[in-house]
Symmetry: C2
Subunit: 410 residues, 2 copies
């Protein structure tokens, strides 16, 4: 094995994590850096500056995906890594960012060591992975892969009617490069686990075998507002009650389906939202995930049947909108093995793991052999300002990535 003793520059990686974490910083820690906002622009500028400083060939595509490429001895399809630098509204400073900055760090380490690889190696920051303002999530990689046409993506609007096209233009990140369309030799993404398994089992590196299927549905209920004191229970068309009954059922659904099924109602709004008025309208979302697509479909069917029955019984109309739907993904076994082997060679404890969260890697898996590297999340906490991964684990993940990239690029 060549380059067996090479390691990333821990200080440089941690310094950049720190610096990026100052953009959209929240009181008490964590970040709010929603896609296509001013904070996103500032973070992109910082990243592009670092990429140029590292001598990478930087290209920004028409959807704002940013790729820095280090040339290889040959001119074929690159080995690629990447993740995202947008966050949820109360996010942490590792989710996404670690993967992008560790990718950059791996390339700079190759520079520092004067390594020549056969294939080019590239690191990409994909636009709007979180899907907070604009759904679906994993959007930048989806457009890159061809699963969502660029024009359709531009036309997606947030709840205030503002489009992605406008937002991306406003922050100046509609680049010149075409979106995707080039062959990729392989794709590796480093990410924090965002769950408790690695920590619970004392492993440093997760070699990720696949990703849960994800189903996001928005339900809007329309009933009739009425006086809370004078309207007999039997005459109500209470949109808020139907929403609450559905939200409580969404939790029971996880128990009914079992076997790793997770379910969440993250959004809950009622109108007019007054103490003594029976709600006229309600809006909720259901986020349901499973590693088994058959079980996921069962869960979706059960939920839809419950929604229909409950709304009918209350005389409330229901509108459904699919916000995102991704089948479960299996990563390339050969790459998963390479990651496990690299971790072992470097002396890190490692185990196979599955991802509960969606990642750009699952979209890239549609066009090239793909796998992921996980590092532990303390307490399993993520999408929360308390999200934390130790310096040692960040370093370990970046080293595994460096060696996996070298292995694939040679």
């Amino acid at each position: 094995m060549r380059h067996e003793n090479i390691r990333i520059n821990r200080e440089r990686l941690l310094r950049r994590l720190e610096e990026m974490g100052r953009i959209g910083a929240l009181e008490g820690g964590g970040n709010s850096r929603l896609a296509f906002t001013e904070e996103d622009r500032e973070a992109r500028d910082l990243l592009v500056g670092w990429m140029r400083g590292a001598g990478l060939d930087v290209r920004i595509d028409r959807f704002g995906n940013i790729t820095g490429t280090r040339a290889g001895l040959e001119d074929g399809p690159p080995v690629m890594t990447g993740s995202h630098i947008d966050t949820v509204a109360t996010g942490g400073k590792y989710d996404g960012v670690l993967g992008v900055l560790a990718g950059l760090e791996a390339l700079e380490t190759m520079n520092d060591a004067g390594i020549e690889t056969k294939r080019p190696v590239a690191v990409t920051s994909f636009s709007n992975e979180e899907g907070v303002r604009f759904q679906p999530d994993m959007m930048g990689s989806l457009v890159y892969q061809g699963g969502l046409p660029l024009d359709e993506a531009y036309a997606i609007v947030d709840r205030d009617g503002c489009s992605i096209g406008e937002s991306l233009e406003r922050i100046g990140y509609i680049g010149d490069a075409p979106v995707g369309g080039n062959a990729v030799h392989a794709f590796i993404e480093l990410h924090i686990e965002q769950g408790p398994i690695l920590e619970d089992e004392g492993s440093t590196i997760g070699a990720v075998e696949g990703v849960q299927g994800i189903s996001w549905t928005e339900y809007t209920f329309a009933g009739r507002s009425a006086h809370a004191g004078t309207t007999p229970m039997a005459r109500r068309h209470d949109a808020g009650y139907v929403a609450a009954a559905v939200a409580a059922y969404v939790r029971r659904l996880a128990e009914e389906v079992g076997r790793g099924q997770v379910t969440t109602v993250g959004v809950f709004e009622v109108e007019p939202n007054l103490v003594n008025v029976v709600p006229e309208r309600a809006r909720i979302t259901a986020d349901i995930r499973n590693f088994d697509n058959g079980l996921l479909k069962d869960a979706e069917d059960k939920l839809n049947a419950f929604v229909t029955r409950t709304a009918d019984e209350e005389g409330v109309a229901v509108e459904r909108r699919t916000l995102a739907r991704f089948d479960p993904t299996s990563f390339a076994p050969a790459l998963v093995e390479k990651i496990g082997n690299a971790a072992e060679r470097l002396g890190y404890s490692t185990r196979r793991i599955a991802s509960g969260a969606g990642h750009d890697a699952q979209i890239m898996a549609r066009i090239c052999p793909t796998a992921m590297i996980f590092v532990p999340s303390v307490g399993g906490i993520s999408h929360n300002i308390e999200e934390y991964t130790s310096d040692e684990d960040c370093e370990a993940g970046a080293n595994v990535m460096l060696h996996a990239l070298l292995d694939l690029a040679e």
Copy 2:
């Protein structure tokens, strides 16, 4: 019986209802005229102008309650009527307004007919009956009656931290008159039923025997935000789930308690309110009402036990705040009978009825003999822009009030 053939001026009453309904008018009908807003100020100015035009002695007290008095032959405690002109955010144009304008109309009718009454007769518009921005509801009458000290009322703040004192000063309605403190001979309030009973049973006039007890509680749940895909169900502290389970239970509670129990969750908010984040905080309100105070207390106890158990099981903290609590009220039987008799003499179909909604009259009942007159609400709809009471029924209610006032004032 003197003045047997006297009737109110229907056109004048309807014209004023129409004119008042233009202040804070909503598209599609109805009104938004929240207490202590600019719309409220405009409505108060209009009312004060009409009262002065009718030659009444107009006094505005230090809580903004507006009273117009027509002198009697003697100088004793007045016979009083009144209601409110504030509305909920999506209210109708009859709730409250009808009672105030019909009271004014009754006094003008006495003027037009040159009637002299033994006692003074007064009409009052009480501040903030609806309790939308500032709780509790029925606040103006409560301060008038002495159940809430003026200084405490001034200090009550809305969700933006704005106080009633500031708001009342801003609209220029902190008057010179002391609040309450004078004896009142009797109080009669005309109001729309806001429920379906009179319409269903083909009665024009309800002689109201009493008012339901009302209990408003706000629950704020504090859990922990977490990633919707990676956080195992057993490790969640989902504030939104607890709120939804409680809201669904509030509905079941009405069935469990039965016997006229009504229950409503009107407010439902979660934070951060994102598809893929387990909610960290949730806020809901429970509005529960019963004519029997023992049953109402049972319902409160059951709900509190359910809240404690559900929050504990989920590892979520709960904070409770009582927004309003009024015992059931029984009106003065002699007055209820006078109202029924007046309706019969005038040829209107009438029945005894109980009020599901809270009214200023229930507060006034603490200091003087009190009763209410109800007229039908089409479809039982209220607190809704579709709220409607026919012109004939408005006229009928005002005529019954006129005769009840004359009966009491002689």
